[in-house]
């Protein structure tokens, strides 16, 4: 048993971190997703990691870094679809009959994957009714479109593929969320060291220090859950895949949301501004908590 990053994994983590710092600073991230983001990530091999022989644990580490930098786009779906369909791939769970579908990044997709219990189907964006774009999406970096009824699409896999994508998608989303949670710890800590009130850095006050400690612990515990889930996907004999995946999605979702809110509190009035990035983490956390099973659904699954 060696439940820590290998040398290669540290190098991978470091490489992706440098890529994000160099190419995806907040100015670019704030300008949103476009094809150039996808191309650059694709050129680096982010979407083809599995095809290139890496394991889920490696992909998970990569997505932790992407989440830390809040790189926008349908990254998880594009990774899942790699090798099956080329280009920018979005996706969603097929809504119940009669309910509208909310499609993310509608203008940028080459294909839209739709999962239900029967399997995975691929819908061409041209076949989508134009629907109604959300003119003011909750997360400004995740444009959305409400579509009355999704076409059936072309089946590309059966229920087994649906299960595999749901599980891997939940783990990669959770990985991205853990990265977000960690970014919130780092940003809020830096601010608490720099911001002074009563003549001292606010991070010296136990009320603030303890809040930050709770954020740090939440991120670290969730990270252990995500890494364990990814390792279990790689080697299912070492655990219970369903249980590990659900546990990771529960804790990472809570960590992303809770840490964004905690960071917002540490930033005080500045946290309520558009200028400070924390609201972008918070809003993304709300969005991601609806992807690949909400934390409540996964919590329920853990009991049954």
């Amino acid at each position: 048993m060696n439940f820590d990053l290998s040398e290669d994994q540290r190098a991978l983590q470091e490489g992706i971190r440098r890529l994000c710092e160099g190419r995806f600073d907040m100015t670019r991230v704030r300008s949103g997703f476009d094809t150039s983001v996808w191309t650059e990530l694709a050129d680096t091999g982010v979407f083809s990691l599995r095809a290139d022989g890496f394991g889920w644990a490696d992909v998970s580490l990569t997505f932790q870094e992407l989440g830390r930098a809040l790189v926008p786009g349908p990254l998880v779906w594009s990774h899942l679809a790699h090798g099956v369909v080329d280009g920018v791939v979005g996706g969603l769970e097929r809504p119940r009959r009669g309910e509208p579908a909310i499609v993310e990044h509608p203008g940028d997709l080459d294909a839209l994957a739709v999962i239900d219990d029967a399997g995975v189907a691929l819908v061409r964006p041209a076949d989508l009714d134009p629907g109604a774009p959300l003119t003011w999406p909750l997360d400004p970096l995740t444009p959305m479109q409400r579509i009355a009824e999704l076409p059936a699409g072309e089946p590309i896999g059966d229920a087994r593929l649906a299960t595999a994508w749901r599980q891997a998608g939940a783990v990669l989303t959770a990985a991205y969320e853990v990265g977000m949670a960690q970014a919130c710890v780092e940003r809020a800590t830096a601010y608490a060291l720099e911001r002074e009130q009563f003549g001292r850095p606010i991070g010296s006050f136990q009320a603030v220090k303890h809040l930050l400690a709770d954020l740090a612990v939440r991120a670290e515990v969730a990270r252990a859950a995500v890494d364990a889930a990814a390792c279990t996907l790689d080697d299912p004999e070492t655990g219970d895949v369903r249980r590990a995946v659900s546990g990771a999605k529960v804790l990472a979702g809570e960590a992303a949301l809770g840490n964004a809110k905690g960071a917002l509190q540490v930033y005080g009035g500045m946290g309520f501004t558009w200028e400070v990035d924390v609201h972008l983490y918070l809003k993304r956390a709300w969005v991601l908590n609806t992807a690949f099973g909400a934390p409540a659904a996964h919590a329920d699954a853990l009991v049954s």
Partner: protein
């Protein structure tokens, strides 16, 4: 990064399981909680059986009779023995996990020879005399005074929360030997024979109705200077050396029990809110198990990570949620403390307090891991 055990770890586990299958049926049923003479016999008998089978002193170096097991084997030992519901370390706790390792690191050859083999065989029970009424979280503020008189120290003062104080034959005693030095620099670490004249031990009645803790009063107690471990006034460092023996396994037994309790709640949970809460608790306990794997791995590599400092706080919170959920699910069945689930709810109230309160843990995480400044000192 993986969770797969090596072949030799699997072999260790199989051999241990086989031994437990043979050894456990030979034990008498566990004694009543308050029957301390019987508990001492029971726990030390178990220690002797572990010794005979080669499982005593898992973390101790072989030159002192230990097994020098890898952190992963230590983890497996605790996991398997707890899962098999083998006896807990019980009254052997202080000797095996605290005083013994301290003597190994800092004791003289005579001190080691006098105590280590006896601790390992279950022949000698130790207690801890660290905390004082005025020195809890601020342990270094302790005031029990030891004054040199010839070849002895003469000790006066009071200790509290002495684990196994009423059954220990020896105690690890922290005293102030230099009242003029700064508080961390005037402390010494002594081996205390609990049958020395001038010691009075009064058991503490906890909210469980009984306990393993005592108050210990010192009235002109003479402790030979040769019983000092480490240099005079160097006791704070000696105390902290023991912590370096921790290999990320301190809560393994607790975790195994907590996960079992949580799993047992599954069929009893019907209300949707309680189901969600149980799901969260299961997720947290699974994650803390993973974090244990990580901490053990990093301890094996000699590179402890942040998880080592975070574990206790996170476990305290998860265990509290589990305890509260148990009480809610049991409802009016929760009014009998003989039910182990209720007793566990009461016992675990001490977890966020003992060995560093959750507030102190947050200070440590904030200052040592996040690099935040200390709060203004009042001294």
């Amino acid at each position: 990064m993986d969770l797969r055990l090596s072949d030799s770890d699997e072999a260790f586990r199989a051999e241990l399981r086989a031994w437990l299958t043979r050894a456990l049926p030979e034990l008498d049923s566990p004694p009543a909680r308050d029957d301390w003479p019987a508990r001492v016999r029971y726990d030390t008998d178990w220690q002797r059986r572990l010794f005979d089978a080669g499982y005593a002193g898992m973390s101790w170096p072989t030159e002192y009779g230990g097994r020098d097991a890898s952190p992963t084997e230590q983890l497996l030992f605790l996991e398997e023995t707890t899962q098999a519901q083998a006896p807990y370390v019980g009254v052997n706790f202080v000797g095996n996990l605290h005083a013994g390792p301290t003597l190994i690191a800092e004791g003289t050859d005579e001190q080691k020879a006098a105590h280590l083999p006896r601790i390992l065989r279950g022949d000698e029970v130790w207690c801890q005399c660290f905390s004082e009424p005025g020195a809890g979280s601020d342990l270094a503020g302790l005031r029990a005074r030891a004054v040199r008189d010839g070849d002895d120290y003469v000790v006066n003062g009071q200790k509290i929360w002495c684990s196994f104080g009423h059954v220990g034959e020896f105690g690890e005693l922290l005293v102030r030997t230099d009242p003029d030095a700064s508080k961390h620099r005037g402390i010494s670490w002594l081996i205390l024979a609990m049958d020395s004249a001038g010691i009075e031990v009064r058991p503490i009645e906890t909210l469980l109705g009984s306990s393993e803790f005592s108050e210990v009063f010192f009235d002109e107690v003479r402790v030979p200077v040769v019983n000092r471990v480490g240099a005079e006034n160097d006791g704070w460092r000696v105390t902290n050396v023991t912590l370096s023996f921790e290999r990320g396994t301190a809560f393994v037994g607790e975790m195994v029990d907590a996960r079992r309790l949580a799993d047992e709640l599954r069929p009893l949970v019907h209300d949707a809110t309680d189901r969600h809460e149980l799901g969260h608790v299961l997720a947290q306990l699974d994650a803390l198990w993973a974090l244990t794997m990580r901490n053990v791995t990093q301890a094996s590599h000699g590179t402890p990570g942040p998880g080592a400092l975070m574990f206790k706080l996170a476990y305290s919170e998860a265990r509290d949620r589990l305890g509260e959920l148990s009480m809610r699910v049991l409802g009016r069945d929760a009014f009998d403390v003989h039910d182990y689930r209720v007793e566990e709810r009461l016992r675990t109230l001490s977890i966020p307090i003992a060995a560093g309160t959750s507030q102190i843990q947050r200070n440590i995480i904030g200052e040592r891991l996040l690099g935040l400044p200390k709060e203004k000192s009042w001294e």
